[in-house]
């Protein structure tokens, strides 16, 4: 399946992936409004993991056997068999943070603004996810990765 592949040797930690992720998930799709005028504020679902000089864009990797799905207390996290994506149903989510506890990437966003954790949804309305499309250094690429 198509996966977002991070290239740590190419990432310069510019955080543009975060900006474009926020924009893509905002209600207004307007950069200024998304950051200044939307309440609750839209939050990014990707984070630059930085331990200088190393940086990597980290988001949900839509694991083939996701620990968050196995551990989820309510079934809010599920693996869509057809698309292979990990889907988060916020109606079922009780924000127990169990997914946060078991994600080996530390990929979920926890915030005071949002009641539930946030994760990458692969930008369902876009052909190429916003983070990949806007990474200036091609440190995030969309690639077909064969399941083993």
């Amino acid at each position: 399946m198509k996966r977002i592949v991070p290239h740590e040797d190419l990432c310069m930690g510019c955080t543009l992936c975060q900006v474009h992720c926020t924009l893509a998930h905002s209600r207004t799709k307007d950069l200024v409004k998304a950051y200044r005028r939307e309440t609750p504020r839209t939050l990014p679902r990707i984070k630059p993991a930085i331990d200088k000089p190393l940086s990597i864009g980290i988001q949900c990797h839509h694991c083939s056997d996701p620990p968050c799905v196995a551990a989820c207390l309510t079934g809010a996290m599920s693996l869509d068999q057809e698309s292979g994506k990990v889907v988060h149903d916020i109606e079922k989510c009780i924000a127990c943070w169990t997914c946060v506890m078991v994600c080996p990437f530390g990929a979920l966003t926890v915030s005071d603004e949002q009641k539930t954790p946030l994760k990458c949804d692969f930008c369902p309305d876009l052909e190429v996810p916003a983070c990949v499309a806007n990474c200036p250094n091609e440190a995030l690429t969309l690639e077909e990765v064969a399941d083993q």
């Binding site: 993991a49 940086s55 309510t74 079922k92 009780i94 506890m101 080996p104 990437f105 399941d147």
Partner: protein, 424 residues
């Protein structure tokens, strides 16, 4: 065609069906549950009581019990005995169910200490939807509640009742809240939040007597603590602990310690009979021996392993350890593995504390064997992964206390293995 039977209709059963169907799309699966409700998320019953979650969202495993999986759900039926020779289960209505492979996922039941007056109306446990119905009926007439036990279930109950506007007192025998999961420092943060939300905490005490109400002795009017102090209340929730439901296994003659003993394949002492979840005493990753863990995620994971092996697979249970993510009174916290073994010299404890947040990591032989995070929990999964894989952290252990700990702080071999595993 193989006939699989699962006793218990909760997380273990969901995992069991998932595991069986991975290898065997055709065999018949019967799930027997003594609860009348469709399978639901037990850890969310508190949210169901105070209305944060509706009954539809409370359902659990509907994907697994969907029609294509053709699982026969026998609800409201209790298995009363198992004949291992004939491979037959006797149900409480006299019906016999035959099986080829059996999974015991009967879970745990509340352990309720004996106390005077516990038969009065308004004395409840907090384990299943039946309990929630009972409490829901009592709530409109109640103003004050006493929760006996400050563990996971007690705090869950206390929070839900506080949300419903009741004045709640938690009575905890040991020194602090959630003491099986958190050390004193971590617990203090949650205790402070609980007080802000109107829950009182009495430590070092137990409830000796449940008193009747003036004018109606059948109903609860208060409790007397071990100190002799009296606490007025209309409702008492007993949440002291749980005990594995091993009666069926014991009657059938399976090997039992505290729980049903299972091997790394989740098989009991009798071939083709498996157990998982709160009732199973399975491999303990950190202790190396076998232990019971009343943990929802482990029940589903153990169920999957059992299910796969029942259907011809050969996979090993990676081993369990205590793990709880907590959301109580608005304070996110995570605790896993060993908590506070500071008394022994074999352990190295690293900790860092800032206002309202806390991080503690317990190491043994340069491996993470336990950790606690309060408030700043986003990196919890990174540490959990090091614990789960028992990775040698000696070359980077100081980084684990970094306030902005991220995937980038892990060494290259760990990063690479984690990605390979995720995409495998």
């Amino acid at each position: 065609m193989t006939h699989y039977t699962i006793i218990g209709g909760s997380a273990g059963a969901v995992g069991g069906v998932e595991g069986i169907r991975k290898h065997d799309p055709a065999g018949t699966i019967t799930v027997v549950s003594d609860e009348t409700a469709l399978p639901y998320s037990r850890p969310a019953i508190g949210e169901s009581l105070d209305g944060r979650v509706d009954s539809e969202s409370l359902r659990f495993g509907s994907q697994v019990f969907r029609e294509e999986n053709s699982v026969q759900l026998l609800l409201g039926r209790k298995a009363v005995s198992i004949d291992l020779q004939k491979r037959v289960i006797r149900l409480d209505n006299g019906q016999d169910l035959s099986f080829d492979r059996l999974l015991l996922a009967t879970g745990a039941k509340p352990f309720v200490p004996k106390m005077e007056g516990m038969d009065r109306v308004g004395f409840c446990t907090f384990m299943n939807l039946g309990d929630i119905d009972e409490i829901r009926q009592a709530v409109p007439l109640a103003r004050r509640a006493v929760v006996i036990g400050g563990g996971l279930i007690g705090v869950e109950a206390a929070e839900a009742l506080a949300n419903l506007g009741l004045a709640v007192t938690i009575v905890e025998l040991r020194g602090w809240l959630l003491n099986l999961l958190l050390d004193r420092e971590a617990a203090r943060i949650i205790e402070a939040a609980a007080r802000v939300r109107g829950a009182e905490l009495v430590t070092g005490q137990s409830v000796k007597t449940v008193l009747g109400r003036e004018g109606n002795d059948r109903r609860i009017g208060g409790v007397i603590l071990s100190s002799g102090a009296r606490v007025e209340c209309d409702l008492v929730i007993s949440a002291v602990g749980v005990t594995p439901r091993t009666e069926l296994a014991s009657q059938a003659g399976l090997d039992i310690n505290r729980g049903i003993l299972v091997d790394r394949h989740m098989q009991t002492s009798v071939p083709e009979i498996y157990a998982c979840g709160d009732v199973a005493e399975a491999y303990d990753l950190i202790g190396g021996d076998r232990r019971t863990f009343a943990t929802w995620p482990l029940a589903r994971i153990g169920g999957r392993i059992a299910g796969e092996n029942m259907a011809g697979g050969h996979i090993e249970y990676p081993g369990g350890f205590a793990m709880s993510a907590l959301r109580y009174f608005g304070v996110p916290a995570v605790s896993a593995g060993l908590d506070a073994p500071e008394t022994s010299g074999d352990f190295e404890v690293m900790r860092t504390q800032a206002k309202g947040s806390y991080r503690k990591i317990v190491l043994r032989d340069s491996r993470v064997v336990g950790f606690t995070l309060v408030r700043n929990i986003e990196c919890a999964g990174l540490i959990h992964n090091l614990l789960r894989t028992q990775a040698d952290v000696s070359s980077f252990k100081e980084k684990l206390l970094s306030p902005d700990l991220s995937f980038a702080h892990l060494p290259e071999n760990v990063r690479r293995r984690t990605i390979m595993e995720a995409w495998a």
